[in-house]
């Protein structure tokens, strides 16, 4: 696989003509957005001013106008950037993925199937609404992989019957084949209890977590500090999580620097990396040529696709009997 610096080179050299064109679009778009938003804001202020002077003022109408303004502004923003975002994904993200591996297929409008998300068992309840985009699927050296941006939400109803939505997971969700053979389920989550409540109370809470399978204590202190493992089978969990793999997961966590959830179920590895934002979207208010912006696209893709490389390396040492 291409290294990070090779990809950065590709971004700045081969994609440079495209990026400069998109830059022009971006500047024009930025102006249009500012003008549109300013007009909308002026209209809102004018309505409020008119209400004040005509003495029909009430909190309800003010709230209504405010709500209308934010909804309209949001819709206007989405409509305005639609073409630009489509262009960006087609002309920048697509070649970038092809450059990493020619066998990967990229579909900007699709996302990973909800079945994978539920089957992973990383989250104990199923979501009420899912969305996502930027679906990548393919085989790298014989190992199939798919991932996408994914957003899962839960619905809540308060006593007045109003519904609200809360995010269960937002970030990168990845599914890949796992070369070892196993029957049960092993789930690896960030260790929040032990880091919040300390070792003693934390581990008590973890071993009494009824929504999960049995707690599996790992014999790698650094891994144990970062993660908590639940599994259906004590031995199988350790068979999957060899010392080598634990080191790799730790290393992956440090590089990605985002909360990492993993699960092994039905011959597959599932990874949910929490970014809490929509990934691979073009930046509107910062230049596409800015190093920090560019690296975010490149690094995320490199990290996601690179995990297969790590698993494949192991495949030669094991044999799926």
């Amino acid at each position: 696989m291409k290294t990070l610096s090779q990809l950065t080179d590709f971004y700045y050299k081969s994609l440079h003509p495209t990026l400069s064109e998109l830059e022009e679009d971006r500047m024009a778009l930025k102006k249009r957005i500012i003008v549109t938003q300013a007009i909308l804001a002026l209209i809102a202020i004018a309505i409020i001013y008119f209400m004040f002077s005509s003495a029909v003022f009430s909190i309800d109408i003010l709230a209504f106008v405010g709500f209308g303004y934010f909804a309209l502004a949001g819709i206007a923003y989405k409509l305005l950037i639609k073409d630009y975002a489509k262009d960006f994904k087609f002309r920048v993200i697509t070649p970038l993925i092809k450059e990493i591996d020619i066998n990967l297929r990229y579909t900007p409008s699709l996302h990973i199937s909800e079945m994978h998300y539920t089957r992973s068992g990383i989250f104990t309840s199923s979501p009420d609404r899912v969305s996502g985009n930027d679906f990548v699927k393919g085989k790298i050296d014989g190992i199939s992989i798919e991932f996408s941006d994914f957003h899962a939400e839960k619905r809540h109803k308060d006593s007045k019957g109003r519904t609200s939505w809360s995010t269960q997971f937002q970030g990168l969700f990845l599914v890949s084949e796992f070369p070892k053979h196993f029957k049960g389920r092993t789930v690896i989550l960030p260790d929040t209890a032990q880091s919040t409540f300390g070792d003693f109370i934390g581990s008590f809470l973890q071993s009494n977590n009824f929504s999960r399978n049995d707690l599996v204590k790992m014999d790698n202190p650094a891994f144990e500090k970062e993660f908590v493992v639940y599994g259906t089978d004590q031995i199988e969990a350790r068979y999957i999580l060899s010392h080598a793999l634990m080191e790799k997961i730790l290393d992956f966590k440090q590089r990605s620097n985002h909360p990492l959830n993993l699960s092994f179920n039905g011959g597959k590895i599932y990874m949910a990396i929490e970014y809490n934002k929509d990934l691979f979207e073009p930046s509107v208010f910062h230049s596409l040529l800015k190093y920090k912006i560019a690296m975010e696209y490149i690094e995320t893709l490199h990290l996601a696709i690179g995990i297969v490389e790590e698993l494949k390396l192991n495949q030669k040492l094991w044999s799926k009997l």
Binding site: Q234, R238, S242, H243, W318
Partner: protein
Amino acid sequence: MSTPLIIAIVIAIVLVLMYNSLVSKKNQVENIFASVDTQLKKRYDLIPNLVSSVSKYMEHEKSILEDITKLRSEANKPNISDEQKIALDAKMSSALGSIMIAVENYPDLKANENVMHLQRSLNEIEEQISAARRAYNQAVTDYNNALEQIPTNFMANAMNYQRKEVFEISVNERKNVNVKELFNS
């Protein structure tokens, strides 16, 4: 209800909980040891096949092969204790390890399909055994902790529970495989 009665009930509940947690820890150790044992047996079953297919070629390693056969017959004896099984496993692992390294010196052997298949199967079982050993060690550590920590230690004393031994994890197992080093040697 009178206060002494409440206190007596609370003490009784605490005692029962302590007793149950000790029993479940002991059973967990025994359960996992049974799985370790199954995996070890699987490995012992591969040994006659391994010895017969490599002994034709291996001249210098005759003594190791004899050791392996001897270890296997010892392990197959009835009524050997868990401690003995653990000790036999350590010896077996190191003997098998040196045979696997020695195979590298015989190009004929390395290319032999049967040996290659055996090597893969052994690797796989080695991985399973390693996982089972680690699970066993964790179960034993939990059990031993309960035996020594307050307040369960009083209860364990009364029940006459004894400390259990863990498997020594060999240094090789802890090390990550370094592919570069393999090529350099």
